[in-house]
């Protein structure tokens, strides 16, 4: 019996020693791999993907950069600093654990501490008195039950009225949300057309949007695209309307002036001067000055 015990102890000792050595071997710091560095960087062109994960060309370029820099003998920290210098702190997938980052450790610790505290106290506490409340409420008087019913019926009726009589459900006008949705997608389309320089098409789309939602900004985009697609007269009209609604809008003034200038109207110079006076520091101001000086 004793022999068996000794044997067991010996086996345990040998295993412990072996496992300890194994852990010690594993614990020795390993050189950080390029993949590890890439996992710690966020791809600047993506939605919440790391450089290691992303398939975007920019992420691939960043992976190659990491490889190059490591091959050139830079340390992983230097590589990370290289990216922080160029892309800002936001490129790091892990926040620094100083400053507000300490919360990442503090909050879970506090939560667990609170939980453990409650558990320990419950273990120590004497049995509490049985619940002092009897949940079985005595039968309420008939009158109260009636009143309750009336209120309930009223609530249901109210919900029904809101749900069905609300303007949302009138089949005659298109629902407000659908309209908002379609205008926003139209706006995106118009912007992308404009971005591609297809001003004539963009202006058509902007015109549709303006028909549904005539806000100043969209009308000015319309005026701008009209101007770009050589329809200066229409651009001038649109910009004029915006200016009429909000006289202080300098961008409208600028567009009106440029449109008048493009259509050869004699008022162009005065309008542009007014713009310069109203917004001398506008980024477009130097250009306008140049235009005025030339004419």
């Amino acid at each position: 019996m004793r022999l068996r015990r000794l044997l067991l102890l010996a086996v345990a000792a040998v295993l412990l020693a072996a496992a300890g050595t194994a852990v010690w071997r594993s614990a020795a710091p390993r050189p950080e791999t390029a993949h590890g560095i890439a996992e710690g960087l966020l791809c600047p062109a993506c939605q919440g993907e790391s450089v290691a994960q992303s398939q975007s060309p920019m992420a691939a370029a960043m992976r190659d950069t990491i490889d190059q820099q490591l091959a050139a003998g830079r340390t992983p920290d230097q590589v990370r600093q290289f990216f922080v210098d160029r892309y800002g702190e936001g490129v790091l997938a892990e926040p620094g654990y100083d400053g507000i980052g300490i919360l990442l450790w503090l909050v879970p610790l506090l939560a667990v501490a609170a939980v453990v505290l409650i558990v320990l106290r419950q273990r120590r506490r004497r049995p509490a008195a049985p619940p002092d409340r009897d949940p079985r409420t005595p039968a309420p008087p008939i009158g109260r039950a009636r009143m309750w019913d009336t209120v309930a019926v009223a609530v249901i009726a109210l919900v029904a009225v809101v749900a069905f009589a609300g303007p949302d459900h009138d089949s005659a006008d298109p629902p407000a949300r659908a309209a908002a949705d379609s205008t926003s997608s139209l706006l995106t389309l118009a912007r992308s057309l404009e971005g591609q320089g297809r001003y004539a098409e963009a202006s058509e789309v902007y015109r549709d949007v303006v028909a549904q939602r005539p806000d100043d900004r969209t009308r000015l985009r319309l005026a701008f695209t009209l101007l770009r697609s050589d329809r200066a007269a229409e651009a001038a009209t649109t910009a004029g309307q915006v200016l009429h609604d909000s006289p202080g809008n300098t961008e409208a003034l600028l567009l009106l002036g440029l449109a008048r200038r493009a259509s050869g109207s004699p008022d162009a110079t005065t309008t542009l001067r007014r713009f310069l006076k109203a917004a001398p520091d506008d980024p477009a101001a130097p250009e306008v000055r140049r235009l005025l000086a030339r004419s």
Partner: protein
Amino acid sequence: MTGQIGGIVLGAGLVAAVATALLWSRVALLGVSARPARAATWATLAMAVLACAVLEVALVGHDFSIRYVAENGGRDVPLYYTVTSLWAALDGSLLLWLLVLAGCAVVVGGRRPERSGPLQPYAMAVIGVVAVFFFALTYFAANPFTAVSPVPADGPGPNPLLREHPAMGVHPPLLYAGYIGLVVPFAYGVAALLAGRTDRLSVTVVRRWTLVSWVLLTGGITLGAWWSYAVLGWGGYWAWDPVENASLLPWLTATALLHTLLAGRRTPALRSWTIALACSSFLLVLVGTFLTRSGAVASVHAFTASPLGPMLLGFVLLSVAVVLGLLVSRSGTAAAANPSPLLARESVMLGNAVLMVAVAAIVLTGTLFPLLVQAVQGHRAAVGPGYFNRAAVPVALVVLLLMGLAPLLRPGRAADLRDLRVPAFAGLAVAAVIGMLSRPGVLALAAFALGAYVLTGLAQSLVRRRGDLRRWGWMTAHAGIAVVAVGVAASSAYTVSSERQLRAGESITVGGVTARLETVDRLGAANGMRVRVRLALGGDAGGTSEPQLRYYPARDLTVSVPAIRSGVTGDVYATVLGAAPDGTGATVRLAVNPLVWLVWLGGGMTALGALTAAVRAPSRRRSPSPSPETPVPVGAA
């Protein structure tokens, strides 16, 4: 026309849900007959079914006058994906959500008291309120039935990432059903607090629903991980992405809940715990829903920004406030001394719950941290896998350590630690052998050792007490978790990968596998363009591998579909990152991921084991327990 019918159905559903909530609270407060309340519950379900049916009809019939169809339908989409596109985007998935919720309500509101327990009216009122909220949300903020004009001739089809594999048709419904199933524990928890009788919590009901939800969540999360691996093509399966975390959080608290429920049958001290966990699981579902549906976090999986945000936020905060308020005001009513020794089942279960809460706290903090930085400092920040691996993984390893005790635990009695000798030796031996042969890192080494220790312990118990069929469920589930741990450790420690720009005939070698680029083909397809790269594999694996790059013009999206060749020791995982337009070369990423299949196997085992337990649970009746299950009509007079 269809759109108007859909809108009316949704409105009627809202009214029915309001009626359900009111009628059930009438039953709870006034103790009257539940018959009208049940009718209203059925009516709510009928409306939810109808709403889904109407949208399906519109989708299958390509009725592009309906906004949802215009945004997610497409004439060239196969029927299967047309049907599943009901949940391919936010608004449609809310309808599915309503359907499952109403279905849960009908089952819980049923007439058989052993299925619903004494707190049924209160719980049903809570479920009713949740249903009112989600119907209102769908109807007012995300109505999929609104009209589009002008009516487009065709739509873009559902998100291509969801069209890459048929399994993706199943993944969202599984997760949703798992999420919503947790409303039942939540409702019973709140009901117990509302009624002021935490001792009346219907353990059987809560346990069954939690188990079912847990099975679905486990399945959903595993499928999600697999989808991430086999479709997204970045080479991994878990990125600690906010959306992934959102699914993990309720899973963690539900796991803790399952264990406290088991021990709480006899220990009153665990009751308030159980209730807090039951409530928090669904609250975390709501927080997760907010995070993923309002566009608050940057993620590949997140739905785009939508007007749901403010409404959801309001409901999340209201629910959290109500639950916290109830917990605070009822605190101290349910505590009792817990005389069990440190290694008795109760204490270990409690320890497990604390650890699960710790993991959940870490994951939640890490997920919300970028938002907090945004709020406080106004700039972007990110929390990557590094933090989660460093903070959550060690705690998870301690969970494994406790899990190894499971086969030895007895209620109310200390476990006999001598039974732990063989598993402990096995664990140490595995650590020693693996640690001598390679250097996987301390965490991975610990995971291997603990995995071996848990599995050996389960095997030992199986040999000693064979034939005890009641134990199969949880034992399989535990074994599954240990297998997942080993798979995760192996694949994260030993994965090797490399990428190169290759021309035809050139090759890349990774981990003993050589891939030679043979051809790059451009194939025009009806709904996009694809580039197929043919790689000849040499070395350990033979044969060819054909990763693809697919471009979907309708959504301006490029998907890199990996080619995975699975073997016993691991997968050879090839992806195309880019291709030269003239077809002479391509950028190829080649990886060898060892033992990834263990993750899928383990996930499947876990879900299956829990399912066995769930199926067995109702038939088991324990006689001497101090009858928290005895059907006593609360509030009935």
